[in-house]
Amino acid sequence: MALLELRDISKHFGAIQALAGVSFGLEPGEVVGLMGDNGAGKSTLVKIMAGNFPPSEGHLYLEGKEVHFHKPVEARYHGIEVVYQDLALCDNLTAAANIFLGREIKRRLGPLKVVDHVAMFSRAGELFQELKSETRPRDLVRQMSGGQRQAVAIARTRLTDAKIVLMDEPTAAISVRQVAEVLDLIRRLKDKGIAIILISHRMPDVFSVCDRVIVMRRGHKVADKSIDTSSPEEVTGLITGAIEAA
């Protein structure tokens, strides 16, 4: 049984058909690259899985049970975490504060409930150690490198036992060394049995960490195959339409 299954997912905004009958399954510990040109429907697909909006038609199954998400919080509750393209971090807060934003650890102080800074710093430290990232929980995100910011965004998904992590262009706009760090982070998540959907424009990244690649074109899924049986040339052809489908 697939961890997550999409069946005939369609989405239209007014007259615009963003997605047309997309189906695929996702197994635990599987890293799937989602590729396609701008406007191919990748982001719409991710937003449906993340609960930003429901599909116009089609069904979503999580561990065999049908689910309906209306808000991102509901998807998160079901173990689907998203690392957004712009990272959705608050520059003015510490790494730990960002990780726990919206689900702070609290402790009792007499009749009051207050945020437990110590517990959050130490838990954030553990998460960074687990991810083997040299990021300090007390540092402000403003002072961090692109790679460290990714580590913060990814550490956030480790707070709960997420089963699926959706990553939107995590390696765009960061240095080569930091890209290597982020790919390492992805491998660590995979080792823990987490399924990952990686949206990326960078062919080398997809071919170095993904097990499978799904190619989207104009709202249709045009390919869904194992990385071993594909090549960057073929994927490029599928994205541009030079190759019809595979």
Binding site: P72, L101, G102, E104, F128, E134, T135, R138, D184
Partner: protein
């Protein structure tokens, strides 16, 4: 990636507690206050006199109380221009309710509810209709002042009913030689520090100012928090009005005119960043103190009072400049 023990790194701090205190604006403003005070104590005999210190602390208490609420608003990257008018409206309502023969507690509640209602209107328009805080609160500045005129019929209220003595004692009296408004300021500063640092509400206020979209995506109830912040700010204006009317012994619809300017000045000087995401509860009383110390020093030094606005304005610009310089150094 290297194999060094990352636990070494994850436990490090950028700087110790002392160094981080030195890096905050309230600290430098406090230093400026101390320097001015020392200089003034040599230049004049009156500056350090008990009487002058008493008056100064009481004067900035009214401003500092509202600056606390304003700090929360500014941290969310908002602004509230209506606080002066809200003082006027809630002060007039307070006066009329007491004049009508009601007890003080009833007057206080009427005063705070009036303030809260204006803050609620501000907050709803800003958070739910997505209007600019500047425009909404500018509108409220005009509306609340006009309502104060309507309600008071442009008459002065100077009789405060059966509990008049108690009412005047609360605003104008002292405890242990310190004016009551100053005590209120101290207690409220402690409460605001606690709220901003120790509660999820405070965490969300900072998060909204840092990246509103990110806050929303992580499940922060952005709209509700914003409404609460504007209501709280208006309530601080109501509290200040309650104390000030008791101290003055009378109230007209002109109560608190141009106060918004001084409050925003105190807040910015105290280290709140108008771009949002930054500010300290402790900055409110310290910023207010600097504004008052400058005003007082110029008076005692015999400088023509017409110059006051120039100096206060210069300090606002200086504070923003200082913030910018420190921001660059911090990377």
């Amino acid at each position: 990636m290297s194999n060094v023990d990352v636990s070494e790194v994850t436990r490090q701090r950028e700087m110790g507690p002392l160094a981080s205190a030195l890096n905050t604006q309230p600290f430098w403003v406090l230093l400026a206050i101390l320097i001015i005070s020392v200089v003034m104590s040599f230049l004049t005999e009156t500056f350090m006199s008990e009487n002058n210190l008493f008056n100064m602390t009481r004067n900035f208490a009214f401003m500092g109380i509202i600056a606390l609420g304003m700090t929360a608003v500014i941290i969310t990257a908002g602004i509230d221009l209506s606080v002066g008018s809200v003082m006027g409206l809630s002060g007039v309502v307070l006066g009329l309710v007491l004049e009508g023969g009601n007890p003080v507690w009833f007057g206080l509640i009427a005063c705070l509810l009036t303030a809260m209602a204006t803050g609620f209107v501000n907050g709803v328009l800003i958070a739910y209709l997505n209007l600019s805080p500047f425009v909404v609160t500018l509108g409220m500045l005009s509306i609340a002042r006009s309502l104060a005129l309507v309600v008071s019929n442009n008459k002065m209220v100077y009789q405060f009913g059966p509990q008049e003595d108690l009412f005047l004692r609360i605003g104008g009296g002292t405890v242990l030689g310190i004016a009551n408004p100053v005590w209120v300021l101290i207690i409220m500063t402690v409460i605001f520090s606690f709220l901003l640092r120790m509660t999820t509400w405070g965490r969300y206020v900072y998060a909204i100012g840092g990246n509103e979209q990110a806050a929303r995506l992580t499940g922060v109830p952005v709209e509700r928090i914003k409404v609460s912040v504007y209501m709280l700010c208006s309530v601080t204006a109501g509290i200040s009005a309650f104390l000030m009317v008791g101290w003055l012994g009378s109230v007209t619809n002109a109560l608190g005119i141009t106060y918004e300017l001084r409050v925003i000045a105190a807040t910015v000087i105290g280290g709140a960043n108008l771009m949002g995401g930054q500010g300290f509860a402790l900055g409110a009383p310290i910023g207010a103190a600097l504004v008052e110390v400058i005003r007082n020093s110029l008076l005692l030094a015999g400088v023509d009072p017409y110059w006051q606005g120039t100096f206060v304005g210069a300090f606002i610009i200086l504070a923003v400049l200082l913030e910018k310089v420190r921001g660059k150094r911090g990377g």
